[in-house]
């Protein structure tokens, strides 16, 4: 109860100091509430947790099931909000609690799992090689296209700007994907920094901090 009062007092202080911030957050809260009403009651397959702040437009398309946890927020990043596209009925997208999603696009045809407290910039998560995978099989193509494979991302991961995660990525918790890097079929352990296009090396963050003199 004490925590609640402290939070409320803090919010009032901030709103007096910076009224524009207060107005923006209020509009984002109301917008998010409208999104919750629209998606939870008018579409069967999408579920969004209650406090949902939408600073930027949210677009969820497709027959697959999507669930977003409590206390998530969507920010505007390079003129993009959150877009989730599911291409088949079996597709599942699970996003955890307290995520800050800015400019993220997810194209799912099998399964994408994202943990709690994940922070993203404009990045692409795509678990199949080609988006129109089912349509492509209708024309005669004699070559092996890799099949879609599920992606899992741990807690407290930071996806930085321009990164692309393709099929079969397993990313451990507390790790960072650097800007412009590109993952394919890669497993990255906990608390590692992934660099490169394509990613070939992952560096332990503890070692990097020790080298730079930050402990």
């Amino acid at each position: 109860m004490q925590m609640f009062y402290r939070k409320a007092l803090n919010n009032i202080k901030i709103s007096i100091q910076d009224p524009l911030y207060f107005f923006q957050s209020l509009t984002a809260f109301l917008r998010g509430f409208l999104y919750i009403i629209y998606y939870n009651f008018f579409t069967r397959n999408v579920k969004i947790g209650f406090p949902f702040k939408a600073y930027a437009p949210v677009r969820i398309i497709g027959p697959g099931s999507v669930s977003i946890g409590k206390d998530c927020s969507v920010y505007k990043n390079v003129f993009r909000g959150l877009t989730i596209v599911t291409s088949s009925c079996d597709a599942v997208v699970n996003i955890g609690r307290k995520c800050a999603l800015g400019g993220l696009t997810i194209r799912c045809s099998k399964r994408v799992e994202i943990g709690d407290c994940v922070m993203t910039a404009t990045s692409l998560i795509q678990d199949s090689f080609f988006v129109n995978y089912d349509k492509t099989m209708s024309i005669p193509i004699n070559k092996p296209i890799p099949e879609p494979k599920e992606i899992s991302i741990g807690n407290n991961v930071w996806l930085s700007m321009g990164s692309i995660l393709l099929r079969g990525c397993n990313i451990g918790s507390d790790s960072v994907i650097s800007a412009g890097s590109w993952c394919f079929d890669a497993t990255i352990k906990d608390y590692f920094l992934a660099i490169g296009n394509p990613v070939k090396k992952a560096l332990p963050i503890e070692k990097l901090q020790r080298l730079k003199g930050i402990s």
Binding site: S87, F130, N132, P146, A186, I188, K201, A202
Partner: protein, 189 residues
């Protein structure tokens, strides 16, 4: 219903090209789901049974084909599927049959020189800069193909890759710059 409207739009586009724009030649069976814009004075020819569409949920969904100079030639084969593709040519771009292109750019030139003047590039000619893409090639989303590249038949180009050197037939290519790597690569520490 959607397919019928797309077929009608395709037929209207072909009729419009017959009367007003003689430099564009399109065979039968074109389906236009999203906007198709063809610009420039160069020759553009598209084969039969092609599909023009965009990727769902994206903000940019139209296909653009630009032939900048009057001697530019763009040819696209039969059964091509263009999903939000951007093709620009100053000299020559040839694309084979049964090709899939998803939200990626194919450009023939650099458009400007590296001098301070930023004028026309000097050392570019048709033999050096033309792009050849073979039959049944598929190109993933957010990838880019630069000048002077030849891609062999049945090649697969992964999403997000930038192709600067020519690709052998039947190979899987990705990264920046694009190279062949075996599947199931392991990340070292």
């Amino acid at each position: 219903m959607r397919d019928v409207i797309a077929g009608i739009r395709g037929r209207l586009f072909i009729l419009m090209c017959k009367f007003f724009r003689r430099n564009i030649k399109i065979k039968e069976g074109l389906k236009i789901y999203k906007r198709l814009s063809i610009g420039g004075k160069g020759m553009v020819s598209i084969g039969s049974n092609c599909i023009v569409d965009g990727i769902r949920g994206d903000s940019i969904q139209h296909v653009t084909i630009d032939a900048y100079s009057p001697e530019a030639v763009i040819t696209i084969g039969n059964n091509a599927q263009l999903y939000a593709a951007r093709i620009a040519a100053k000299f020559q771009v040839t694309i084979g049959n049964n090709v899939l292109i998803e939200e990626s750019g194919i450009t023939d030139t650099d458009f400007h020189s590296i001098d301070r003047s930023r004028g026309n590039p000097v050392d570019e000619n048709r033999d050096k800069c033309q792009i050849n893409i073979g039959n049944s090639v598929s190109i993933g989303a957010r990838s880019l193909i630069t000048k002077g590249v030849a891609i062999g038949d049945n090649a697969v180009i992964a999403p997000g890759s930038i192709v600067t050197t020519s690709v052998k037939p039947g190979s899987l290519v990705f990264g920046n710059p694009a190279r062949t790597i075996m599947q199931g690569q392991s990340v070292s520490e």
